[in-house]
Amino acid sequence: MADRAAPLAALEGAIADAVFAGATLRTVPFLAQVGIRLDPAGPAAPRVAAALGLELPEANLVTESGGRRALWLGPDEWLVVAADGEERALVAILEEAIGADGAVVDLSANRTGLELSGPQAAEVLATCMALDLHPRAFGPGRCAQTLLQKAPVIVERRGDDAFLLLVRPSFAAYVAEWLVDGMAGLAADLAAV
């Protein structure tokens, strides 16, 4: 494979310098991401569930099994996420399962990852996102497509204190700078107390 450039390579320094006790930001440059479109009541849904070993989730939810996750994106649309390098195998499995009853597209290069974790991760995210991040509304295992300021993102809650953001490479620097700024702002608030 040709050399790949991590979309946020130029910002790694700024991200590493963002020191805030409550949260840590980390880039996840490459992930296998495969988009699927199919009728959840149609014949392909059970075949996909069997092939992946996980049920396609209902609205706003994520299912996970064996290192693969399915994120709900819409009533007939999901994103299957796995470790970098698995994309070709995933596409092959999904094309076989779906056949002519839907669509499979390798979207791995379409979005890059940012992982925000720590006890105040939700507060950092809330400095730049209007989505209700309270565990009552957006607990672990939930995902959403929403806006981070002006940038469209997929946000997944990976645990009580961990979020994964999937962002288009051209918006990634904008998103990372907002998060770094949010961390700096909260750190300053803390220092002022």
């Binding site: 609205a59 819409g74 209007a130 989505l131 959403a144 497509q145 929403t146 469209p152």
Partner: protein, 92 residues
């Protein structure tokens, strides 16, 4: 700012949505048979009523689906939303 209930994703803030004009404006079954005036009425003329108004919205930054919203044009109250294919009475 509105908080709009997407029938698929749930309540979200208005910047995630795009407005699509009056709902339930049917495409003419035989456009060729229309006079210029009738065609112009289909293209450009919309109700401008006070009270409950059915309009289309698209969840552009979310699931990207079109759906319908009942909004009170007098008070700006969002009465409810419903999926394409459902009736205004289904709004919730």
């Amino acid at each position: 700012m509105f908080q709009i209930r997407c029938p698929y994703c749930g309540p979200r803030d208005e910047p995630e949505f795009k407005y699509g004009g009056q709902a339930h404006v049917a495409y003419p079954s035989d456009p060729e048979a229309l006079s210029d005036e009738e065609w112009a009425r289909f293209l450009f003329f919309r109700d401008n009523s006070k009270g409950r108004y059915a309009e289309r919205w698209n969840h552009a930054a979310g699931c990207r689906r079109w759906f319908n919203v009942i909004r009170d044009t007098g008070t700006h109250e969002l009465v409810g939303s419903y999926r394409v294919g459902e009736q205004p009475a289904d709004a919730r």
